[in-house]
Symmetry: D2
Subunit: 142 residues, 4 copies
Protein backbone atom coordinates (compact mmCIF):
# COMPACT_ATOMS: atom_id res chain seq x y z
CA UNK A 1 0.00 0.00 0.00
CA UNK A 2 1.22 3.47 -0.78
CA UNK A 3 2.36 5.85 1.88
CA UNK A 4 0.55 9.19 1.81
CA UNK A 5 1.76 11.68 -0.78
CA UNK A 6 3.84 14.69 0.17
CA UNK A 7 1.59 17.72 -0.16
CA UNK A 8 2.89 21.12 -1.17
CA UNK A 9 0.55 24.08 -0.73
CA UNK A 10 1.00 27.14 -2.91
CA UNK A 11 -0.74 30.45 -3.31
CA UNK A 12 -1.83 31.14 -6.90
CA UNK A 13 -1.15 34.78 -7.69
CA UNK A 14 -2.55 37.38 -10.06
CA UNK A 15 0.69 37.21 -12.02
CA UNK A 16 0.30 33.45 -12.48
CA UNK A 17 -2.88 34.06 -14.49
CA UNK A 18 -3.36 35.17 -18.05
CA UNK A 19 -6.01 37.21 -19.87
CA UNK A 20 -8.25 34.11 -19.95
CA UNK A 21 -8.34 34.59 -16.16
CA UNK A 22 -6.93 31.20 -15.29
CA UNK A 23 -3.38 30.17 -14.44
CA UNK A 24 -1.28 30.37 -17.62
CA UNK A 25 -0.40 26.93 -19.01
CA UNK A 26 3.26 27.87 -19.14
CA UNK A 27 3.29 28.44 -15.36
CA UNK A 28 1.70 25.14 -14.37
CA UNK A 29 4.69 22.85 -14.98
CA UNK A 30 6.63 25.08 -12.60
CA UNK A 31 3.99 24.60 -9.89
CA UNK A 32 4.66 20.86 -10.12
CA UNK A 33 8.42 21.39 -10.18
CA UNK A 34 8.28 23.61 -7.09
CA UNK A 35 6.42 20.79 -5.38
CA UNK A 36 9.15 18.30 -6.33
CA UNK A 37 11.84 20.68 -5.06
CA UNK A 38 9.88 21.06 -1.82
CA UNK A 39 9.56 17.26 -1.64
CA UNK A 40 13.35 16.85 -1.76
CA UNK A 41 13.78 19.57 0.84
CA UNK A 42 11.29 17.74 3.02
CA UNK A 43 12.78 14.26 2.82
CA UNK A 44 16.43 15.41 2.78
CA UNK A 45 16.34 17.62 5.88
CA UNK A 46 16.49 20.85 3.93
CA UNK A 47 18.59 19.77 0.95
CA UNK A 48 16.72 21.22 -2.00
CA UNK A 49 17.87 21.48 -5.64
CA UNK A 50 19.90 24.58 -4.83
CA UNK A 51 21.89 22.87 -2.08
CA UNK A 52 22.27 19.66 -4.12
CA UNK A 53 23.74 21.63 -7.02
CA UNK A 54 25.77 24.29 -5.26
CA UNK A 55 26.90 22.46 -2.11
CA UNK A 56 27.01 18.83 -3.25
CA UNK A 57 27.74 19.02 -6.98
CA UNK A 58 24.69 16.91 -7.81
CA UNK A 59 22.23 17.76 -10.55
CA UNK A 60 18.87 16.18 -11.36
CA UNK A 61 17.94 17.39 -14.86
CA UNK A 62 14.59 16.31 -16.20
CA UNK A 63 14.45 14.14 -19.27
CA UNK A 64 10.68 13.87 -19.60
CA UNK A 65 7.49 15.50 -18.42
CA UNK A 66 3.85 14.99 -19.26
CA UNK A 67 0.78 16.75 -17.92
CA UNK A 68 -2.95 16.39 -18.31
CA UNK A 69 -4.90 19.53 -17.53
CA UNK A 70 -8.34 18.70 -16.19
CA UNK A 71 -9.66 21.90 -14.65
CA UNK A 72 -8.60 25.56 -14.63
CA UNK A 73 -6.46 26.82 -11.75
CA UNK A 74 -7.35 30.24 -10.32
CA UNK A 75 -6.39 32.47 -7.37
CA UNK A 76 -9.73 31.67 -5.72
CA UNK A 77 -8.22 28.89 -3.61
CA UNK A 78 -4.79 27.55 -2.70
CA UNK A 79 -3.27 24.89 -4.94
CA UNK A 80 -2.29 21.59 -3.35
CA UNK A 81 0.31 19.53 -5.21
CA UNK A 82 0.50 15.88 -4.18
CA UNK A 83 3.93 14.40 -4.93
CA UNK A 84 4.46 10.65 -5.18
CA UNK A 85 7.79 9.21 -6.29
CA UNK A 86 7.74 5.87 -8.13
CA UNK A 87 10.28 3.22 -7.13
CA UNK A 88 13.59 4.69 -8.35
CA UNK A 89 15.80 3.26 -11.08
CA UNK A 90 19.58 3.19 -10.90
CA UNK A 91 20.01 6.85 -11.84
CA UNK A 92 16.49 8.11 -12.46
CA UNK A 93 13.40 9.00 -10.43
CA UNK A 94 9.85 9.35 -11.69
CA UNK A 95 7.44 11.63 -9.86
CA UNK A 96 3.69 11.67 -10.09
CA UNK A 97 2.36 15.10 -9.19
CA UNK A 98 -1.33 15.84 -8.91
CA UNK A 99 -2.57 19.40 -8.47
CA UNK A 100 -5.91 20.10 -6.79
CA UNK A 101 -7.93 23.13 -5.76
CA UNK A 102 -11.00 23.00 -3.56
CA UNK A 103 -11.17 19.21 -3.94
CA UNK A 104 -11.07 19.33 -7.73
CA UNK A 105 -8.14 17.69 -9.48
CA UNK A 106 -6.70 20.35 -11.81
CA UNK A 107 -3.84 18.38 -13.31
CA UNK A 108 -2.12 15.05 -13.18
CA UNK A 109 1.48 14.81 -14.30
CA UNK A 110 4.60 12.72 -14.50
CA UNK A 111 8.17 14.00 -14.34
CA UNK A 112 11.33 11.94 -14.87
CA UNK A 113 14.72 13.19 -13.71
CA UNK A 114 18.20 11.71 -13.86
CA UNK A 115 20.96 12.13 -11.33
CA UNK A 116 24.15 13.64 -12.76
CA UNK A 117 27.45 15.02 -11.65
CA UNK A 118 26.69 18.75 -11.79
CA UNK A 119 30.04 19.70 -13.32
CA UNK A 120 30.22 17.12 -16.11
CA UNK A 121 26.48 16.44 -16.50
CA UNK A 122 27.40 12.71 -16.59
CA UNK A 123 24.84 10.31 -15.19
CA UNK A 124 25.56 8.93 -11.70
CA UNK A 125 23.77 6.33 -9.55
CA UNK A 126 21.35 7.87 -7.08
CA UNK A 127 23.52 8.62 -4.02
CA UNK A 128 22.84 6.21 -1.14
CA UNK A 129 21.50 8.74 1.38
CA UNK A 130 19.05 10.03 -1.21
CA UNK A 131 18.01 6.49 -2.16
CA UNK A 132 17.43 5.72 1.49
CA UNK A 133 15.35 8.85 2.02
CA UNK A 134 13.30 8.04 -1.09
CA UNK A 135 12.71 4.50 0.13
CA UNK A 136 11.48 5.85 3.45
CA UNK A 137 9.21 8.38 1.76
CA UNK A 138 8.09 6.50 -1.31
CA UNK A 139 5.74 3.62 -2.00
CA UNK A 140 6.23 0.73 0.39
CA UNK A 141 7.44 -2.53 -1.16
CA UNK A 142 4.65 -5.08 -1.70
Amino acid sequence: MDRPAFIWQRRVGFGDCDPARIAYTGRIPDFALEAIDAFWEHILSGTNWFRMNVDQGIGTPFVHMEMDFRAPITPRAPLFCHVRPAPPGNASVTFHVEGAQADTVCFTSKFVCVFVDAASLKKIPIPDPIRAALAAAGPAPV
Copy 2:
Protein backbone atom coordinates in the same frame (compact mmCIF):
# COMPACT_ATOMS: atom_id res chain seq x y z
CA MET B 1 3.19 54.78 16.22
CA ASP B 2 3.05 52.28 13.37
CA ARG B 3 1.07 49.10 13.57
CA PRO B 4 3.10 45.97 12.83
CA ALA B 5 3.73 45.23 9.15
CA PHE B 6 1.89 42.46 7.36
CA ILE B 7 4.41 39.67 6.80
CA TRP B 8 4.26 37.38 3.79
CA GLN B 9 6.47 34.28 3.85
CA ARG B 10 7.61 32.74 0.58
CA ARG B 11 9.77 29.83 -0.42
CA VAL B 12 12.60 30.80 -2.79
CA GLY B 13 12.93 28.12 -5.45
CA PHE B 14 15.68 26.82 -7.69
CA GLY B 15 13.87 28.35 -10.63
CA ASP B 16 13.91 31.78 -8.97
CA CYS B 17 17.71 31.77 -9.12
CA ASP B 18 20.08 32.45 -11.98
CA PRO B 19 23.55 31.18 -12.94
CA ALA B 20 25.06 33.58 -10.38
CA ARG B 21 23.29 31.34 -7.84
CA ILE B 22 21.18 34.06 -6.30
CA ALA B 23 17.58 35.05 -6.97
CA TYR B 24 17.40 36.69 -10.39
CA THR B 25 16.87 40.47 -10.18
CA GLY B 26 13.94 40.21 -12.56
CA ARG B 27 12.10 37.92 -10.14
CA ILE B 28 12.49 40.07 -7.06
CA PRO B 29 9.93 42.78 -7.89
CA ASP B 30 7.40 39.98 -8.23
CA PHE B 31 8.22 38.73 -4.72
CA ALA B 32 7.24 42.16 -3.42
CA LEU B 33 4.13 42.26 -5.60
CA GLU B 34 3.01 38.84 -4.38
CA ALA B 35 3.33 40.20 -0.87
CA ILE B 36 1.14 43.20 -1.72
CA ASP B 37 -1.47 40.90 -3.31
CA ALA B 38 -1.37 38.75 -0.15
CA PHE B 39 -1.72 41.89 1.95
CA TRP B 40 -4.96 42.84 0.15
CA GLU B 41 -6.24 39.30 0.51
CA HIS B 42 -5.47 39.50 4.20
CA ILE B 43 -7.13 42.82 4.97
CA LEU B 44 -10.05 42.35 2.55
CA SER B 45 -11.24 38.92 3.77
CA GLY B 46 -9.92 37.09 0.75
CA THR B 47 -10.37 39.75 -1.93
CA ASN B 48 -7.08 39.62 -3.81
CA TRP B 49 -6.20 41.32 -7.14
CA PHE B 50 -7.90 38.54 -9.06
CA ARG B 51 -11.22 38.97 -7.26
CA MET B 52 -10.98 42.78 -7.37
CA ASN B 53 -10.48 42.67 -11.13
CA VAL B 54 -12.73 39.82 -12.16
CA ASP B 55 -15.55 40.04 -9.60
CA GLN B 56 -15.59 43.75 -8.73
CA GLY B 57 -14.31 45.48 -11.86
CA ILE B 58 -11.58 47.28 -9.91
CA GLY B 59 -7.98 47.51 -11.06
CA THR B 60 -4.92 48.80 -9.21
CA PRO B 61 -2.21 49.29 -11.83
CA PHE B 62 1.18 50.41 -10.59
CA VAL B 63 2.54 53.75 -11.69
CA HIS B 64 5.88 53.61 -9.92
CA MET B 65 8.25 51.18 -8.24
CA GLU B 66 11.70 51.51 -6.78
CA MET B 67 13.88 48.93 -5.12
CA ASP B 68 17.22 48.89 -3.35
CA PHE B 69 18.93 45.53 -3.32
CA ARG B 70 21.08 45.12 -0.23
CA ALA B 71 21.89 41.42 0.01
CA PRO B 72 21.48 38.40 -2.26
CA ILE B 73 18.38 36.22 -1.88
CA THR B 74 18.90 32.45 -2.04
CA PRO B 75 16.91 29.24 -1.47
CA ARG B 76 18.80 28.67 1.79
CA ALA B 77 16.07 30.28 3.88
CA PRO B 78 12.50 31.49 3.44
CA LEU B 79 11.95 35.07 2.35
CA PHE B 80 9.85 37.30 4.58
CA CYS B 81 8.28 40.34 2.95
CA HIS B 82 7.09 43.04 5.34
CA VAL B 83 4.35 45.16 3.79
CA ARG B 84 3.51 48.62 5.13
CA PRO B 85 1.01 50.86 3.35
CA ALA B 86 1.50 54.61 3.66
CA PRO B 87 -1.54 56.79 4.37
CA PRO B 88 -3.55 56.57 1.12
CA GLY B 89 -4.26 59.43 -1.27
CA ASN B 90 -7.58 59.93 -3.00
CA ALA B 91 -6.97 57.28 -5.65
CA SER B 92 -3.47 55.99 -4.93
CA VAL B 93 -1.74 53.82 -2.35
CA THR B 94 1.98 53.62 -1.64
CA PHE B 95 3.44 50.42 -0.20
CA HIS B 96 6.75 49.98 1.49
CA VAL B 97 7.92 46.39 1.16
CA GLU B 98 11.02 45.09 2.87
CA GLY B 99 12.37 41.61 2.11
CA ALA B 100 14.47 39.72 4.64
CA GLN B 101 16.10 36.33 4.94
CA ALA B 102 17.60 34.96 8.14
CA ASP B 103 17.40 38.41 9.77
CA THR B 104 19.24 40.13 6.94
CA VAL B 105 17.39 42.81 4.98
CA CYS B 106 17.71 41.82 1.31
CA PHE B 107 15.74 44.65 -0.27
CA THR B 108 13.73 47.72 0.57
CA SER B 109 11.19 48.97 -1.92
CA LYS B 110 8.34 51.31 -2.63
CA PHE B 111 5.39 50.63 -4.93
CA VAL B 112 2.68 53.10 -5.90
CA CYS B 113 -0.62 51.93 -7.38
CA VAL B 114 -3.72 53.77 -8.52
CA PHE B 115 -7.30 52.59 -8.30
CA VAL B 116 -9.09 52.41 -11.65
CA ASP B 117 -12.27 51.15 -13.16
CA ALA B 118 -11.02 47.88 -14.66
CA ALA B 119 -12.96 48.25 -17.91
CA SER B 120 -12.08 51.85 -18.77
CA LEU B 121 -8.79 52.10 -16.85
CA LYS B 122 -10.07 55.51 -15.58
CA LYS B 123 -8.91 56.56 -12.15
CA ILE B 124 -11.49 56.17 -9.33
CA PRO B 125 -11.41 57.16 -5.65
CA ILE B 126 -10.37 54.30 -3.39
CA PRO B 127 -13.65 52.49 -2.64
CA ASP B 128 -14.85 53.10 0.93
CA PRO B 129 -14.62 49.51 2.20
CA ILE B 130 -11.05 49.30 0.94
CA ARG B 131 -10.17 52.67 2.49
CA ALA B 132 -11.63 51.51 5.79
CA ALA B 133 -9.67 48.25 5.70
CA LEU B 134 -6.48 50.15 4.89
CA ALA B 135 -7.09 52.55 7.76
CA ALA B 136 -7.50 49.61 10.11
CA ALA B 137 -4.35 47.92 8.82
CA GLY B 138 -2.12 50.87 8.07
CA PRO B 139 -0.16 53.35 10.12
CA ALA B 140 -2.10 54.74 13.04
CA PRO B 141 -2.89 58.45 12.94
CA VAL B 142 -0.56 60.58 15.09
Copy 3:
Protein backbone atom coordinates in the same frame (compact mmCIF):
# COMPACT_ATOMS: atom_id res chain seq x y z
CA MET C 1 4.66 15.42 -47.79
CA ASP C 2 4.84 17.89 -44.96
CA ARG C 3 5.11 21.59 -45.49
CA PRO C 4 8.06 23.20 -43.70
CA ALA C 5 7.59 23.91 -40.00
CA PHE C 6 7.00 27.41 -38.71
CA ILE C 7 10.19 28.49 -36.96
CA TRP C 8 10.17 30.82 -33.97
CA GLN C 9 13.52 32.25 -32.89
CA ARG C 10 14.02 33.30 -29.29
CA ARG C 11 16.83 34.73 -27.25
CA VAL C 12 17.60 32.69 -24.13
CA GLY C 13 18.30 35.06 -21.26
CA PHE C 14 20.27 34.95 -18.03
CA GLY C 15 16.99 34.93 -16.14
CA ASP C 16 15.81 31.85 -18.04
CA CYS C 17 18.68 29.86 -16.52
CA ASP C 18 19.07 28.34 -13.08
CA PRO C 19 22.04 27.68 -10.78
CA ALA C 20 22.87 24.57 -12.86
CA ARG C 21 23.64 27.12 -15.60
CA ILE C 22 21.16 25.78 -18.09
CA ALA C 23 17.64 26.93 -18.90
CA TYR C 24 15.37 26.02 -15.99
CA THR C 25 13.04 23.11 -16.78
CA GLY C 26 10.05 25.13 -15.64
CA ARG C 27 10.75 27.78 -18.31
CA ILE C 28 11.05 25.41 -21.25
CA PRO C 29 7.35 24.58 -21.71
CA ASP C 30 6.78 28.31 -22.04
CA PHE C 31 9.36 28.54 -24.83
CA ALA C 32 7.27 26.02 -26.76
CA LEU C 33 4.03 27.83 -25.90
CA GLU C 34 5.43 31.16 -27.07
CA ALA C 35 6.26 29.45 -30.34
CA ILE C 36 2.68 28.19 -30.69
CA ASP C 37 1.32 31.67 -29.93
CA ALA C 38 3.69 33.09 -32.57
CA PHE C 39 2.53 30.38 -35.00
CA TRP C 40 -1.10 31.49 -34.63
CA GLU C 41 -0.09 35.12 -35.04
CA HIS C 42 1.77 34.14 -38.20
CA ILE C 43 -0.98 32.13 -39.87
CA LEU C 44 -3.86 34.34 -38.67
CA SER C 45 -2.52 37.70 -39.85
CA GLY C 46 -1.63 38.89 -36.37
CA THR C 47 -4.38 37.19 -34.37
CA ASN C 48 -2.50 35.76 -31.41
CA TRP C 49 -3.92 34.24 -28.20
CA PHE C 50 -4.47 37.69 -26.73
CA ARG C 51 -6.59 38.90 -29.67
CA MET C 52 -8.45 35.57 -29.88
CA ASN C 53 -9.40 35.82 -26.22
CA VAL C 54 -9.99 39.53 -25.77
CA ASP C 55 -11.31 40.53 -29.21
CA GLN C 56 -12.98 37.34 -30.43
CA GLY C 57 -14.06 35.55 -27.26
CA ILE C 58 -12.23 32.38 -28.27
CA GLY C 59 -10.03 30.40 -25.91
CA THR C 60 -7.68 27.50 -26.63
CA PRO C 61 -6.84 25.93 -23.26
CA PHE C 62 -4.37 23.07 -23.29
CA VAL C 63 -5.51 19.65 -22.14
CA HIS C 64 -2.21 17.81 -22.53
CA MET C 65 1.49 18.43 -22.93
CA GLU C 66 4.49 16.16 -23.05
CA MET C 67 8.15 17.00 -23.50
CA ASP C 68 11.37 15.07 -23.90
CA PHE C 69 14.46 16.99 -22.92
CA ARG C 70 17.48 15.86 -24.94
CA ALA C 71 20.13 18.53 -24.47
CA PRO C 72 20.57 21.53 -22.19
CA ILE C 73 19.49 24.96 -23.44
CA THR C 74 21.82 27.87 -22.68
CA PRO C 75 22.22 31.57 -23.58
CA ARG C 76 25.18 30.68 -25.83
CA ALA C 77 23.00 30.54 -28.94
CA PRO C 78 19.46 31.46 -29.97
CA LEU C 79 16.75 28.86 -29.58
CA PHE C 80 14.79 27.84 -32.66
CA CYS C 81 11.38 26.30 -32.06
CA HIS C 82 9.93 24.38 -34.99
CA VAL C 83 6.12 24.22 -34.81
CA ARG C 84 4.15 21.63 -36.76
CA PRO C 85 0.39 21.23 -36.26
CA ALA C 86 -1.09 17.78 -36.79
CA PRO C 87 -4.31 17.49 -38.80
CA PRO C 88 -6.92 19.10 -36.51
CA GLY C 89 -9.86 17.32 -34.90
CA ASN C 90 -13.31 18.85 -34.57
CA ALA C 91 -12.40 21.05 -31.59
CA SER C 92 -8.79 20.21 -30.84
CA VAL C 93 -5.37 20.83 -32.35
CA THR C 94 -2.15 18.96 -31.61
CA PHE C 95 1.17 20.72 -32.05
CA HIS C 96 4.58 19.16 -32.33
CA VAL C 97 7.25 21.60 -31.22
CA GLU C 98 10.93 20.86 -31.50
CA GLY C 99 13.52 23.17 -29.92
CA ALA C 100 17.06 23.36 -31.29
CA GLN C 101 20.20 25.32 -30.57
CA ALA C 102 23.26 25.32 -32.84
CA ASP C 103 21.88 22.35 -34.80
CA THR C 104 21.33 20.24 -31.69
CA VAL C 105 17.78 19.18 -30.86
CA CYS C 106 17.20 20.25 -27.25
CA PHE C 107 13.63 19.09 -26.83
CA THR C 108 10.78 17.48 -28.66
CA SER C 109 7.25 18.05 -27.45
CA LYS C 110 3.57 17.65 -28.10
CA PHE C 111 0.82 20.03 -26.98
CA VAL C 112 -2.93 19.49 -27.36
CA CYS C 113 -5.37 22.38 -27.09
CA VAL C 114 -9.14 22.59 -27.37
CA PHE C 115 -11.17 25.47 -28.76
CA VAL C 116 -13.66 26.93 -26.30
CA ASP C 117 -15.99 29.84 -25.95
CA ALA C 118 -13.86 32.09 -23.74
CA ALA C 119 -16.74 33.17 -21.50
CA SER C 120 -18.31 29.76 -20.79
CA LEU C 121 -15.21 27.61 -21.38
CA LYS C 122 -17.52 25.27 -23.40
CA LYS C 123 -15.91 23.40 -26.26
CA ILE C 124 -16.63 24.77 -29.76
CA PRO C 125 -15.74 23.50 -33.23
CA ILE C 126 -12.60 25.11 -34.62
CA PRO C 127 -13.89 28.29 -36.32
CA ASP C 128 -13.81 28.01 -40.14
CA PRO C 129 -11.27 30.77 -40.82
CA ILE C 130 -8.88 29.20 -38.33
CA ARG C 131 -9.43 25.74 -39.80
CA ALA C 132 -8.72 27.11 -43.27
CA ALA C 133 -5.53 28.84 -42.11
CA LEU C 134 -4.39 25.64 -40.38
CA ALA C 135 -5.06 23.62 -43.53
CA ALA C 136 -2.97 26.04 -45.54
CA ALA C 137 -0.14 25.96 -43.00
CA GLY C 138 -0.26 22.38 -41.82
CA PRO C 139 0.59 19.02 -43.30
CA ALA C 140 -0.65 18.63 -46.86
CA PRO C 141 -3.36 16.03 -47.42
CA VAL C 142 -2.02 12.74 -48.83
Copy 4:
Protein backbone atom coordinates in the same frame (compact mmCIF):
# COMPACT_ATOMS: atom_id res chain seq x y z
CA MET D 1 25.27 64.96 -27.93
CA ASP D 2 24.13 61.46 -27.14
CA ARG D 3 24.74 58.56 -29.45
CA PRO D 4 21.54 56.72 -30.40
CA ALA D 5 20.19 54.26 -27.84
CA PHE D 6 20.54 50.53 -28.31
CA ILE D 7 17.08 49.21 -29.16
CA TRP D 8 15.91 45.75 -28.13
CA GLN D 9 12.72 44.48 -29.72
CA ARG D 10 10.64 41.90 -27.88
CA ARG D 11 7.40 40.09 -28.52
CA VAL D 12 4.89 40.46 -25.68
CA GLY D 13 3.18 37.13 -25.11
CA PHE D 14 -0.14 35.94 -23.71
CA GLY D 15 1.72 34.59 -20.70
CA ASP D 16 3.24 38.01 -20.00
CA CYS D 17 -0.25 39.40 -19.37
CA ASP D 18 -2.53 39.12 -16.38
CA PRO D 19 -6.30 39.01 -15.88
CA ALA D 20 -6.39 42.81 -16.30
CA ARG D 21 -5.33 42.02 -19.90
CA ILE D 22 -2.15 44.04 -19.81
CA ALA D 23 1.43 42.94 -19.17
CA TYR D 24 1.77 42.01 -15.50
CA THR D 25 3.74 44.59 -13.50
CA GLY D 26 6.01 41.86 -12.16
CA ARG D 27 7.12 40.95 -15.68
CA ILE D 28 8.01 44.46 -16.82
CA PRO D 29 11.29 44.90 -14.90
CA ASP D 30 12.47 41.72 -16.64
CA PHE D 31 11.69 43.22 -20.06
CA ALA D 32 14.10 46.06 -19.18
CA LEU D 33 16.68 43.62 -17.81
CA GLU D 34 16.54 41.49 -20.95
CA ALA D 35 17.24 44.65 -22.90
CA ILE D 36 20.29 45.41 -20.75
CA ASP D 37 21.57 41.84 -21.19
CA ALA D 38 21.06 42.20 -24.97
CA PHE D 39 22.89 45.55 -24.82
CA TRP D 40 25.97 43.90 -23.27
CA GLU D 41 25.82 41.10 -25.81
CA HIS D 42 25.68 43.72 -28.54
CA ILE D 43 28.59 45.88 -27.40
CA LEU D 44 30.75 42.98 -26.15
CA SER D 45 30.66 40.83 -29.29
CA GLY D 46 28.33 38.25 -27.79
CA THR D 47 29.43 38.38 -24.16
CA ASN D 48 26.12 38.46 -22.29
CA TRP D 49 25.53 38.04 -18.54
CA PHE D 50 25.73 34.27 -18.87
CA ARG D 51 29.19 34.33 -20.49
CA MET D 52 30.42 37.07 -18.11
CA ASN D 53 29.42 34.95 -15.12
CA VAL D 54 30.22 31.45 -16.28
CA ASP D 55 33.22 32.05 -18.57
CA GLN D 56 34.81 35.16 -17.08
CA GLY D 57 33.90 35.04 -13.40
CA ILE D 58 32.37 38.52 -13.51
CA GLY D 59 29.03 39.42 -11.99
CA THR D 60 26.99 42.60 -12.28
CA PRO D 61 24.36 42.46 -9.53
CA PHE D 62 21.86 45.30 -9.42
CA VAL D 63 21.79 47.55 -6.39
CA HIS D 64 18.91 49.80 -7.44
CA MET D 65 16.04 49.99 -9.88
CA GLU D 66 13.22 52.41 -10.40
CA MET D 67 10.44 52.41 -12.95
CA ASP D 68 7.63 54.74 -13.93
CA PHE D 69 4.76 53.03 -15.70
CA ARG D 70 3.05 55.40 -18.12
CA ALA D 71 0.93 53.23 -20.38
CA PRO D 72 -0.18 49.59 -20.42
CA ILE D 73 1.84 47.08 -22.43
CA THR D 74 -0.12 44.51 -24.44
CA PRO D 75 0.52 41.80 -27.06
CA ARG D 76 -1.00 44.06 -29.74
CA ALA D 77 2.41 45.38 -30.82
CA PRO D 78 6.07 44.59 -30.24
CA LEU D 79 7.81 46.27 -27.33
CA PHE D 80 10.90 48.36 -28.07
CA CYS D 81 13.29 48.92 -25.18
CA HIS D 82 15.73 51.78 -25.65
CA VAL D 83 18.86 51.29 -23.54
CA ARG D 84 21.16 54.21 -22.69
CA PRO D 85 24.07 53.77 -20.27
CA ALA D 86 25.11 56.80 -18.25
CA PRO D 87 28.84 57.58 -17.92
CA PRO D 88 30.15 54.73 -15.74
CA GLY D 89 31.58 55.07 -12.24
CA ASN D 90 34.58 53.12 -11.01
CA ALA D 91 32.62 49.91 -10.38
CA SER D 92 29.03 50.78 -11.27
CA VAL D 93 26.96 51.44 -14.35
CA THR D 94 23.58 53.17 -14.55
CA PHE D 95 21.22 52.32 -17.38
CA HIS D 96 18.24 54.28 -18.55
CA VAL D 97 15.73 52.00 -20.26
CA GLU D 98 12.63 53.30 -21.96
CA GLY D 99 9.96 50.90 -23.22
CA ALA D 100 7.65 51.90 -26.08
CA GLN D 101 4.88 50.29 -28.09
CA ALA D 102 3.41 51.79 -31.24
CA ASP D 103 5.14 55.13 -30.54
CA THR D 104 3.76 55.38 -27.01
CA VAL D 105 6.22 55.41 -24.14
CA CYS D 106 5.05 52.66 -21.75
CA PHE D 107 7.73 52.96 -19.09
CA THR D 108 10.86 54.85 -18.22
CA SER D 109 13.34 53.28 -15.84
CA LYS D 110 16.76 53.42 -14.27
CA PHE D 111 18.86 50.43 -13.23
CA VAL D 112 22.18 50.56 -11.36
CA CYS D 113 24.53 47.58 -11.33
CA VAL D 114 27.92 47.01 -9.74
CA PHE D 115 30.75 44.91 -11.10
CA VAL D 116 31.86 42.11 -8.77
CA ASP D 117 34.06 39.09 -8.73
CA ALA D 118 31.45 36.36 -9.31
CA ALA D 119 32.95 33.96 -6.75
CA SER D 120 33.42 36.34 -3.82
CA LEU D 121 30.78 38.93 -4.78
CA LYS D 122 33.44 41.60 -3.94
CA LYS D 123 33.25 44.82 -5.91
CA ILE D 124 35.81 45.21 -8.73
CA PRO D 125 36.62 48.10 -11.06
CA ILE D 126 34.88 47.81 -14.41
CA PRO D 127 37.26 45.70 -16.52
CA ASP D 128 39.07 47.77 -19.16
CA PRO D 129 37.65 46.07 -22.25
CA ILE D 130 34.13 46.57 -20.91
CA ARG D 131 34.85 50.19 -20.03
CA ALA D 132 36.18 50.76 -23.53
CA ALA D 133 33.13 49.16 -25.12
CA LEU D 134 30.84 51.26 -22.92
CA ALA D 135 32.71 54.41 -23.86
CA ALA D 136 32.27 53.57 -27.53
CA ALA D 137 28.56 52.83 -27.07
CA GLY D 138 27.60 55.35 -24.45
CA PRO D 139 27.07 59.07 -24.36
CA ALA D 140 29.81 61.00 -26.11
CA PRO D 141 31.97 63.21 -23.87
CA VAL D 142 31.05 66.92 -24.03
